[in-house]
């Protein structure tokens, strides 16, 4: 769908300028194809971060870091509901699974769009945290791309922390 972006050569993992756009396209594509709902980039002020559900996928290899998604519980249930095409009440038990799979697909789609990175970077199995009273410390000290989105009017934040 969108064009490939050059990945950094060798171990130079500093993100290129175009990476936020690649990440944005990756997120939009996953929501459009797998959730069946367009996710919107807010054109005004960034939406408030509501952290009740956090999904994370690790990236290892030439591109090393963590991709995470944060949103509210209601929003996560709504995403699961759309993915499964069932009412929200039925989808609530699949909320964590759905968010984990979204993280997995966004990370996979992102690396697929970085030319030459697909075989040089492996993804972990997703991890989901529910609740917001935690602090996340990543060993991926380096660059961070964080993008806000709106899903049905609710905030979804996607972050990619890249170890350099």
């Amino acid at each position: 769908m969108s064009t490939h972006t050059q990945a950094p050569a060798g171990n130079d993992a500093a993100p290129f300028e175009g990476w936020p756009l690649v990440l944005r396209d990756s997120v939009k594509e996953v929501f459009s194809l797998m959730v069946g709902t367009e996710i919107i980039v807010p054109d005004q002020a960034d939406p408030a971060v509501v952290t009740e559900v956090t999904g994370m996928v690790g990236l290892a290899g030439e591109l090393c870091g963590v991709l995470s998604l944060r949103c509210g519980k209601g929003c996560a249930s709504k995403i699961a509901s759309r993915m499964l095409d069932v009412p929200i009440t039925e989808a609530a038990s699949n909320m964590a699974d759905a968010i984990g799979e979204i993280c997995n697909m966004v990370a996979g789609n992102f690396k697929a769009k970085l030319h030459g990175m697909q075989d040089k970077c492996m993804l972990s199995v997703p991890t989901i945290i529910t609740g917001g009273d935690y602090q996340l410390f990543s060993v991926a000290v380096g660059d961070r791309i964080e993008l806000p989105f709106l899903f049905d009017g609710e905030a979804v934040w996607i972050a990619l922390e890249i170890r350099s």
């Binding site: 594509e29 996953v30 194809l33 797998m34 699961a80 993915m83 499964l84 095409d85 699949n94 699974d97 759905a98 984990g100 799979e101 997995n104 697909m105 990370a107 996979g108 789609n109 697929a112 697909q118 075989d119 492996m122 993804l123 199995v125």
Partner: protein, 127 residues
């Protein structure tokens, strides 16, 4: 004749989406069974007959590539067409899956049409 399918993915949400795509493709699905990893899938293949397997690669316990290796050694499994559906869509993993005996490869995220386009020819080649 209805198709007996086995869907292998560690995400139950993804298993449901794949099943829905198969039905949207107009396939006459009979029994559809699910497994959350390769080891569970092998146990189901031992006890049931399947016409089609769709499997993820990146799964805990036993991944999709290891699953194909074991499947192809089983008398009951070696002739079942298997299509991989995964985020690991690099050339290396595609070639490895195909060399192990996978008949097709679909990268997530996917459309129902992509599932149809990859699965129908595989079933056709069986008849």
């Amino acid at each position: 004749m209805s198709i007996r399918a086995l869907i292998v993915d560690d995400s139950s949400v993804m298993r449901k989406i794949v099943e829905r795509c198969l039905r949207q493709a107009g396939m006459d699905l009979g029994q559809v069974q699910e497994a959350s990893n390769g080891a569970e899938a092998l146990a189901l293949v031992n006890e049931n007959r399947f016409d089609l397997i769709l499997s993820d690669i990146n799964m805990p316990v036993m991944d999709g590539l290891e699953f194909i290796r074991h499947l192809k050694e089983m008398e009951s499994g070696k002739n079942i067409p298997i299509v991989m559906i995964t985020t690991e869509g690099g050339e290396k993993s595609v070639l490895e899956a195909l060399s192990l005996g996978a008949k097709g490869y679909i990268r997530k995220p996917f459309t129902p049409d992509q599932v149809k386009d990859h699965v129908i020819p595989v079933l056709g080649s069986q008849s």
